[in-house]
């Protein structure tokens, strides 16, 4: 494998890992705080991509489309939290998984009825290529990576500096005790879901120019996103970032070595990591419940 191919493979892996990260962070926080598996986030990812498609056609700007996708993702997540999750928090975790899988499938149906079955292209907003060590790297992929890292930084600051962030971290340990301090935990849940929805919409919007937007795109990344969450360790944002980039690299470099590896290798890595560390890379044994 020559260096040019390798380098572009690494950049590809980082950019796809960035998308995985943006998706997985919401899922991870939702599980950590509410103990629910929010598969509906994958729907907001598709919604983000389709809104980006429609707005970029209407307004001529992909960036405005991505912004619209984030807003719609956040709104959809907010609505689902308010009208559905509120009723099922008390239930078993598998109940949330089945419910949200239903929302995801139903949502895919709605997307099909609005946008049709044909995959839609979204133009790349910046076609510039940047030269890195003799390899032409698409600037847009670098932007995607920078956005993911910026989001990581922002989430880190939010969780470690603000009082709400501390309350969320405290809630990941024990929600009842946070309630015992007099904090309205249902509001915390709403905030967390909105953050997750906005980031899922952002992931979809950013990913749109790199793929063809189609109704089942959410289902296509589902396995990878899950893997990222599990490898990283539930509830850990640092773990999610590391594992997203790891899975991205495995998918990208694996396919360079031998194409079918791209599908298989991440599972092998996950198996290996879970054998060595059942709580994931940065998973905390505190998450006992």
């Amino acid at each position: 494998m020559d260096t040019q191919l390798f380098l572009s493979g690494v950049i590809f892996g980082l950019s796809i890992g960035s998308i995985f990260f943006l998706m997985a962070i919401g899922l991870s926080l939702c599980f950590g705080l509410m103990r629910v598996i929010s598969l509906d986030q994958l729907l907001y990812y598709s919604i983000g991509a389709y809104i980006t498609y429609s707005l970029s056609l209407a307004l001529g700007s992909v960036w405005l489309g991505v912004l619209g996708g984030m807003i719609m993702g956040g709104l959809a997540s907010f609505a689902v939290e308010r009208f559905i999750f509120r009723r099922i928090y008390e239930r078993d975790v598998t109940f949330s998984m089945i419910t949200t899988f239903g929302i995801l499938i139903g949502g895919v149906g709605i997307i099909k009825s609005i946008w049709g079955l044909v995959p839609r292209p979204v133009p790349v907003p910046i076609s510039t290529q940047i030269d890195i060590a003799g390899t032409a790297v698409p600037a847009y992929r670098l932007i995607v990576i920078v956005v993911a890292i910026a989001v990581y930084g922002a989430i880190w600051l939010f969780l470690n500096r603000t009082i709400v962030g501390k309350a969320i971290r405290a809630g990941i340990e024990d929600v009842e005790h946070v309630e015992g301090l007099g904090i309205n935990v249902y509001r915390l849940f709403t905030i967390t879901f909105i953050i997750a929805g906005v980031l899922s919409g952002l992931a979809g919007g950013l990913h749109a120019p790199l793929i063809m937007v189609d109704p089942v795109m959410g289902l296509e990344v589902l396995a990878f996103v899950f893997m990222v969450v599990i490898i990283g360790g539930l509830g850990s944002i640092k773990g999610t970032l590391v594992s997203a980039f790891l899975v991205g690299q495995v998918v990208s470099l694996g396919s360079l070595v031998y194409a079918p590896l791209a599908q298989m290798a991440p599972f092998a890595i996950m198996l290996l990591i879970l054998l060595l560390k059942p709580t994931g890379l940065y998973g905390s044994p505190l998450l006992k419940r």
Partner: protein, 262 residues
């Protein structure tokens, strides 16, 4: 009853809580007077903690009602009861292991004295409140100054318990409910915790659930003795200990405690 409800800050009326076939709390009625120090005593499984959970909203009773300052709060969520002025501690401490000692205090302080609004909390940082006089005073009072920036998971049980009590006192609730605050503490620590609590007598209503009643007998003014979900005696310490049913139910514990004290 109305005269009684004026004096009572918290009142339980015939509350019953069942878990399957087990009746953990059976038709218990109880009134707490403003600013008194009350104890709830009983052996393991007597229903003390379940009764506590009913008062504080962690369980909803199957029968009966719970009143706070004349308002029916039977079905109010935990967080609203805290907002109204009731706060509790837990047998297993409810401090947050992943946060530093001072940030645990800041969380309790901010919610109680700054803002209930999460919107405001979103734009407030912990750092800005770490040097609040009341937070600093709590660190001082509970002798946690040296541990200020340590993550709570590195603390000893005694330190965690002091922190938990510090958090609940920092919130300055009108009613402070302590669930076995002395369990697992060394004698010197028991002394310092009781000393701090002692300063609050007359300022707050304090309820202590204890196993080891001898440790708090100087401290509590009125005792409620439970056995198998029912109240078997209520009154002053000596009065309760003389009560024939208490003697019958607790002669073993009593004997064991005498053993402890020797």
């Amino acid at each position: 009853m109305s005269a009684d409800s004026d004096a009572a800050i918290v009142r339980a009326e015939n509350v019953t809580k069942r878990f399957g076939a087990l009746t953990a709390v059976d038709q218990v009625s109880y009134s707490l007077r403003r600013n008194e120090v009350a104890g709830i005593f009983g052996s393991n499984g007597a229903g003390k903690t379940t009764f506590f959970n009913l008062l504080t909203g962690y369980y909803v009773p199957e029968e009966g009602s719970i009143w706070y300052k004349g308002e029916d709060i039977t079905r109010r969520p935990i967080q609203q009861r805290v907002a109204m002025g009731m706060m509790r501690t837990f047998q297993l401490t409810s401090t947050f292991d992943n946060l530093s000692v001072v940030d645990n205090l800041v969380l309790a302080f901010y919610r109680a004295h700054r803002s209930v609004s999460l919107w405001r909390m979103l734009f407030s940082t912990c750092r800005a409140h770490r040097n609040e006089p009341r937070v600093l005073a709590a660190l001082e009072t509970f002798d946690l100054g040296d541990q200020r920036d340590k993550e709570v998971r590195h603390l000893s049980l005694g330190e965690k318990r002091r922190l938990e009590i510090a958090m609940s006192m920092l919130a300055e609730p009108e009613v402070l409910l302590l669930d076995e605050p002395l369990a697992g503490l060394a004698d010197s620590e028991i002394k310092s915790v009781l000393e701090v609590l002692g300063r609050q007598v007359g300022k707050q209503t304090i309820v202590i659930v204890e196993h080891k009643v001898s440790a708090v007998k100087e401290f509590v003014q009125r005792l409620l003795v439970m056995h198998e979900g029912r109240v078997i005696a209520e009154g002053g310490y000596d009065e309760c200990m003389q009560h024939p049913e208490v003697r019958r139910s607790y002669w073993q514990i009593d004997a064991r405690q005498r053993g402890d004290e020797q």
